[in-house]
């Protein structure tokens, strides 16, 4: 292991470079398009000849994009919060308690993790119309919580199993109240797992498209990925390539920030539930 020849280093470096390039080129292409002028969009060169921010001004001036962005953030945060709370409760039970039906719960969440969402769209569309949930925030939050839960239960039960619960007892022996033992010993140990889960669930909500276009009809609840679909060009005959690219870049930025800051956590969260489970 310690023997690394310069040639090996060059080999690994080249392989790394290929992976990084393949991952980034499509993203850089969107960034480049978003800074091109409408005339230069038809120019196939990778980078713009002259840079403009007019595409960004155009999308950030109107409510066509700002309002969906607010919806995306609001719906994503509320769904994430609810999913993490419910998933923590269930994961605690799975990791710490013995009760019949545990296997069923794990089976159910696995089933939902792999569920074909389109199979729900037709019946849910009709149910949401009947319950007046169609085109509202709760109309998206409820399905997002349901599909975030399996992810959360898997990730969190893997995390909760690793917590040394004897510490709780030790703290009580040392005179801590149950509340103190929980808030000062257990909660800090559980927090990283919950943050990881929250990131994964939020990414799912932020990404979701099928429910977002199916269960919304106006700007009041349409999320950002769905709203891009409805962008129009400056005239009937222009394709709004620039504004769409700018909007795509804006909704991609949070993802890149998450990935840069929480790379390790995202990796451990994604793999803990799926493979160990």
């Amino acid at each position: 292991m310690a023997m690394t020849t310069p040639r090996q280093r060059v080999g690994w470096g080249a392989a790394n470079f290929v992976v990084i390039a393949l991952a980034l080129i499509p993203v850089l292409w969107m960034v480049s398009l978003s800074f091109k002028t409408p005339a230069a969009i038809l120019d196939p060169s990778f980078w713009p000849q002259s840079w403009t921010t007019s595409n960004y001004q155009q999308i950030l001036e109107t409510s066509q994009f700002i309002r969906p962005l607010v919806n995306s953030i609001g719906i994503g945060l509320i769904a994430t919060l609810i999913a993490v709370i419910f998933a923590s409760m269930a994961a605690y039970a799975i990791a710490r308690l013995d009760f019949p039906g545990k296997g069923l719960l794990i089976g159910l969440s696995l089933l939902i993790a792999m569920f074909p969402q389109i199979a729900l769209v037709t019946p849910m569309f009709n149910i949401e119309r009947d319950l007046h949930l169609f085109n509202t925030w709760p109309g998206l939050i409820i399905p997002y919580v349901a599909f975030g839960l399996p992810l959360g239960i898997y990730t969190l039960s893997a995390f909760f199993r690793e917590i040394p619960w004897e510490l709780e007892k030790a703290a009580k022996v040392d005179g801590a109240t149950p509340f103190q033992a929980f808030t000062q010993v257990i909660a800090p140990l559980a927090a990283p797992g919950m943050v990881t889960t929250a990131i994964l669930v939020f990414l799912f909500c932020w990404n979701e498209f099928l429910f977002a276009i199916s269960f919304t009809s106006t700007l009041s609840s349409r999320t950002a990925p769905a709203a891009i679909e409805y962008f129009s060009g400056s005239s009937q005959f222009t394709v709004p390539t620039g504004p769409i690219s700018a909007a795509a870049v804006v909704i991609t930025i949070p993802i890149i920030i998450f990935v840069l800051f929480f790379q390790r956590r995202i990796v451990s969260g994604l793999t803990s539930g799926a493979v160990k489970g």
């Binding site: 280093r9 969107m30 196939p44 409760m89 308690l97 296997g103 089976g107 498209f209 790379q263 489970g277």
Partner: protein
């Protein structure tokens, strides 16, 4: 469980064993109730959003129900199934879905394995590779799909030369290739990460021992790494196959299903929002659900004891 084995081991001391079983079941009952209460909210939400609509869809699929004629709703038995299963649209969409699933999953598996090896073994820049790989995973599929669409557009995209400036998205086979490329780009990192976790469970000693015995790198990979990774590979394949089978976002943006490139999910969506036919739409939903169940069942048969969930149970 311990009470049962104690009782079986010492049948002579029946009475105290029975009493302790009752006492234990007091505590066990409290624990059981707490377990159920803690799981209840999650179970209720998941059942309300999946089980209930599926059952409702079964009823809808047996009805003639078009939103354009809301007065004319009636029970028609399996007529909807007959019309979907005899329609070329359904089989066409199923064929496209299966082609996309098979090719994208197979290529993703190979590339994902290479990526996992790279992330596991690379000597420099490990963090950089992982961060870069997570970007396609995390990016909004719709945003990436627009990038791909413009990249292939003749005269405007950097990739348009690949298809000789011929607008690949207007041609069935080329469009499906473009869709598969977009899927592979998006999903290889996830596959790579799942396989990486499996790879890290392969004991290093075995590799070293084989190396000492003179096994080549390829032999070590096929004889040691792959067999030991089989459970991780099967889990990753199951996840990816079912995820790929429900492909929607990429096709919706890239072709919207034009020129016979629609998947079953696109068909279901179009049926609801263009034809407004709840009966036929629900029939398609149920058929997709059955397809997914068949795929999952086949995989779990193949898993044997390595099925996901069983090991979670065991621990």
């Amino acid at each position: 469980m311990s009470t049962r084995s104690e009782a079986a081991a010492a049948p002579a001391v029946k009475k105290p064993a029975a009493r302790s079983r009752r006492q234990l079941s007091e505590g066990a009952r409290a624990e059981r109730n707490l377990g159920w209460w803690l799981c209840a909210p999650a179970v209720i939400v998941m059942a309300a959003v999946t089980a209930y609509p599926v059952i409702y869809a079964i009823f809808l699929s047996l009805e003639k129900y078009n939103l354009e004629y809301p007065q004319d709703v009636k029970f028609i038995g399996f007529a909807n199934y007959a019309s979907v299963l005899t329609s070329s649209y359904w089989w066409q969409a199923l064929e496209v879905t299966l082609i996309i699933t098979v090719f994208s999953v197979a290529i993703t598996l190979v590339l994902g394995m290479a990526l996992a090896m790279l992330m596991f073994r690379t000597l420099i820049g490990k963090g950089w590779v992982r961060t870069a790989a997570l970007i396609p995973y995390g990016i909004v599929t719709v945003a990436a799909a627009y990038g791909w669409q413009y990249a292939w557009t003749p005269g405007q995209g950097y990739l348009s030369a690949v298809f000789n400036y011929s607008a690949p998205l207007t041609h069935q086979i080329n469009a499906i290739i473009v869709i598969i490329v977009a899927e592979i780009w998006k999903t290889t990192p996830f596959m790579g990460l799942l396989l990486l976790a499996g790879l890290s469970l392969v004991p290093d000693d075995l590799q070293k021992a084989a190396k000492v015995d003179g096994a080549t790198a390829w032999q070590r990979f096929t004889r040691i790494t792959l067999p030991l990774m089989k459970p991780a590979i099967l889990v990753a394949l199951l996840f990816r196959t079912l995820d790929s089978f429900r492909i929607f976002d990429n096709i919706f943006i890239l072709t919207a299903g034009a020129n016979h490139t629609g998947s079953v999910s696109i068909l279901g969506y179009d049926n609801l929002f263009n034809a407004l036919n709840l009966g036929i739409g629900s029939t398609i939903s149920i058929l997709i659900f059955i397809c997914v169940a068949i795929i999952a069942f086949a995989f779990i048969k193949g898993f044997g004891t390595a099925a996901p969930g069983t090991s979670l149970n065991r621990r």
